[in-house]
Symmetry: D2
Subunit: 341 residues, 4 copies
């Protein structure tokens, strides 16, 4: 049995831990051979491979990034892409595929499975917004990094009687903001799922200034005010016409300064959240997911994604996993809201 | 409503986060008053209290330890202890109790509940060996600390062609060893649940020496060899007659040196694992448990312990929670075993 | 003897360690009393004080920020400011002052000394750009934080075949960029002292892309291109007309993308660099500086600043210390340049 | 020009950073070729080499350990060792040697130089006890690790009203104990240079217990009591007859328990202090030392050791560097003593 492995989408701590687990268990328990595909779907599309044996995965468990490289190549947008992948897999003698990635990568995996490719998916998103799994690896690391940064900002805010706005990742779901905000004692947490009222935010800020402590606002990059409340300046786009990372944090700082008369500064954590060595939680989770994925291959359970439910690794349909986004439920936000202000 | 709060047993990162959540939510949502009892059950036994209001819990979320202090005072071994506690609670006007602690503390809580004290328990053990909850707070922090230490030891082992034995906490359950060992790529993990065969351990060590990497063995303090295999020297007791922390790690190092002829050194992580600032995971978990515990008081659901199941905080009977120890199941150990050697 | 203490200017890890050392040694060795002035020069100007005894400084050694608060109040710009300060010191019975701060704070200290105020200065700047001292406390912490962030970004850059630009503090001097860039293996380091040639930067980026590694550029916020090379868009100002933090990093990313056709992203570390717990180096340095400052008061050596030279704490004239900025010398930059590309 | 490189003695964070700097600058600036010798002096003795080019040193800057391996092989104790080394160097066409190591390694380097081997030394010791250099790389990392551990232990000590004894490295010099103890606010610091009075130690412990804080004692492994004060049990030797790491810490804990009646526990940090990624300070220092060492080769300044003096890298005679041990001077200890108790 020859098994191909690829990693797609954005960087995420734990990718290498998954690859190592797939390969080590696959060789030791099942005697498989492995083929590494480079840069996500680009690899099987172009037949770009690298050797993937025990020595290739030695020492990679604690390392961030992915030895296989990644890309956002979307197979479905390429004419004849699926056929070329099937031809390349056949040509390379690859019997099955382990695809590690987020919504996009797994969406492609699912469509390949519908066209008879033997594929197992491993969920990956820093944002923790994939359905059917309690947590995705990388998320815990991102939350730890954000929490440490906010811990540091507390003392600066207090010494200077300043409001600090920390913008964290999360375009569509506020999980990183929710967890890092709760962990670091943020005074307000703003998430995409819940358009905010700028007046309420300012009220929290002002009530906080009355203590000896200073306000810290954690805001997901995708958070936004209720309709019409705060103009999001069109000047916020970069030279490519994309909305600039850091937009909402900076706008909030300006708005809070002008409404409270106190200094406010924003910090955008950016890519630091998704690189580097994974937390212990993420290494264990990634290892278990990888082990179970290759076991699924051995069990011939294709078209599945491995997932964490409670303390167990289970297998769910790729279809189910990629249907809807897992957003922050109201009760989880309300639980955090108790500590605002 | 006046609610007493106490923390019992060994130190554990997240205790202050629980206390803060109980107090902040209790005051904000329910208008409760709080009384802090000092040093576990010694507090209510001797009527030793401290003020516990919003200002007392400001800034404590990220801090290790417990502002209430702790002790191992066992109420049940003190004649008339229960009556004295009931009298003191009545005298202080305390209507209900939130008891934060491990098996012992919650065992006492359960017996007090049987004698009509209104009590809610919050599970606490670095060892993660309490039944009915997926994880206990403090465990994730301990695993991260152990993992970072093992990461550091890898390079030393390799540069010196040496075996390193890392002894971590876990007298009765091997959770910390299992998780930190998986996370840090240990070559062998030894846990109390599974008496080890010294010949197998040595075989793993020798096979590892044949690569460019060096063997790291993670051993829980309560791990032990199969009957008669390795004499645990009686010289290992301290001046008080207690078995010395570090015993098994040191013995393994000696045994491996004498059997392989290679250098072996042991490191005992000790109390470093249970102090200091909690990880983000533990802060979120501790906060959620604290919030739910005071909500249980408000719901008049006494005799319960709050617990994590999946991503939800639930309530279980104190009786159920304290009946049996949660040890590492065979399948979890086998999952890790794939990576040995 | 009653001694006043104040902290001025931006936040800097180690401020509390200085305050603690001044107070503990002052009380234990000399029997002094202390008065804390709040928020830099605003404190003595307005007579705003706080108690500063042994219990006030307990536990503050590892904490970021300053328990005294800070501000940028510039005494010299306030009519009659110096007289009001002298009156307030007399009224409060304050015999001498320990002023902890950067160029501005120490400049005021020097002018007060010229008008017969007994003052000793302690140098503080995250940027390490104060003359007459080898290092300032806070700098080592900032460099460690930046280095850890860049370590994390390496894996992301590599996995995505992307250039990453990391903007660090340093308006007038490139010390943080130089040290964190050297420590983290940056491919290019850009500092204010040395206007850069954008063509050379792009050449380094392109040569790096030919390896399996990806380019990381560390740029001090005050770095700038050689005349006319790269337009720094006027749109980079915030709503208050200030140049926005992050300007140069973002501009470089755009320029590199358009010149190389490869993705480039910028990360602005911002205030995270100046908050939180100090590194061990900074705690030791801050403690030694504080101890020596109060010893200088006892020796009646006023008008001096304490400084690190080699491994010794020495005393230099405030005048000497604040005359010129300590910038990165050419040979230090050339030493780093060897590792570019 | 072909240059050999070797690393000798105990592991130390920063070794790889030195190797990388030597090789990269040597190739880029001087066009040298390099030969890596494995495991310290064993490499040239046995002619055991590995390739050492640009690709061999890519990515090693942040990694602990040494890619060249290390050993304690002492050339001077081997009959004809020096001649064999000279023959091997000639046979391999190696013109000069960069030897990175501590007292022993540099002592051998010096004797080789006396016998016409062209050698430049780079000082390496975690213990910071080499003369003629302000700091050695690895020391700052060790102090940071010890400081973080002591930070964590503070909260445990306080929650349990316990004394904690932390044993750190330092057989002959107390630098790690002095710096980590000052940085972490230890209540007592015990170093080899200064035999301690057990009565004074106990007095500090008891005075500390009267506050709300708990005593932390930092003790270097080579510290010892004044004559006859505390029996150091002969049972402390391991199965090889060596004094066991952890001896003095454990003995102090027992003595303090029996004299104060309070609980005391010891933690031995051990090898964790010398492994893993170097701090930013150590990476910069190691890089600068490596760069300067290969420049010394190019300048034909053999028989020298590179060293840090103030902020400059200088060259001193190997003889001078290895003559005496740099111990903690009385005034540095007294500076720390102010904060005891």
């Amino acid at each position: 049995m020859r098994v191909g492995v690829l990693t797609g989408g954005g960087d995420c701590p734990g990718l290498n831990a998954v690859i190592r687990a797939v390969v080590r268990k696959g060789i030791k328990d099942y005697g498989y051979e492995f083929v590494g595909f480079r840069d996500g779907w680009r690899g099987p599309l172009e037949g770009d491979t690298m050797p993937l044996d025990i020595s290739a995965v030695r020492g990679i468990l604690p390392r961030g990034g992915t030895i296989l490289g990644s890309s956002r190549t979307n197979l479905m947008k390429i004419d004849g892409g699926v056929e070329r992948v099937k031809d390349n897999l056949a040509g390379l003698g690859v019997d099955a595929l382990v695809a590690i990635g987020g919504e996009d990568t797994l969406g492609v995996a699912r469509q390949l499975f519908d066209r008879d490719v033997k594929v197992v998916g491993v969920p990956k998103t820093i944002d923790n917004d994939l359905n059917a799994t309690d947590y995705t690896f990388g998320f815990d690391t991102a939350v730890n990094i954000a929490t440490e940064a906010i811990d540091r900002l507390h003392t600066t805010a207090e010494s200077h009687h300043r409001a600090l706005i920390v913008e964290v990742m999360g375009r569509h779901a506020g999980w990183i903001a929710l967890h890092s905000g709760m962990a670091a004692g943020a005074n307000v947490i703003l998430i995409p799922e819940r358009p905010f009222d700028i007046g309420e935010v300012v009220a929290h800020v002002e009530s906080r200034f009355k203590t000896n402590y200073a306000p810290i606002i954690v805001v997901a990059e995708g958070a936004h005010p209720k309709d019409g409340q705060m103009e999001l300046s069109t000047g916020e786009k970069d030279s490519f016409g994309h909305v600039r990372l850091g937009g909402i944090g900076q706008r909030l700082a300006e708005e809070i300064e002008s409404r409270t008369g106190k200094e406010a500064r924003s910090v955008v954590l950016g890519h630091v959240q998704r690189g580097g060595t994974p937390s212990a939680f993420d290494r264990v989770l990634a290892t278990r997911l990888g082990s179970n994925a290759i076991a699924a291959v051995n069990d011939k359970e294709f078209g599945k994604m491995v997932a964490l439910q409670g303390t167990e690794i289970v297998r769910v349909d790729l279809a189910e996993a990629t249907e809807t986004l897992k957003t922050v439920p109201t009760e989880r936000y309300e639980e955090a809201e108790v500590f605002f202000g």
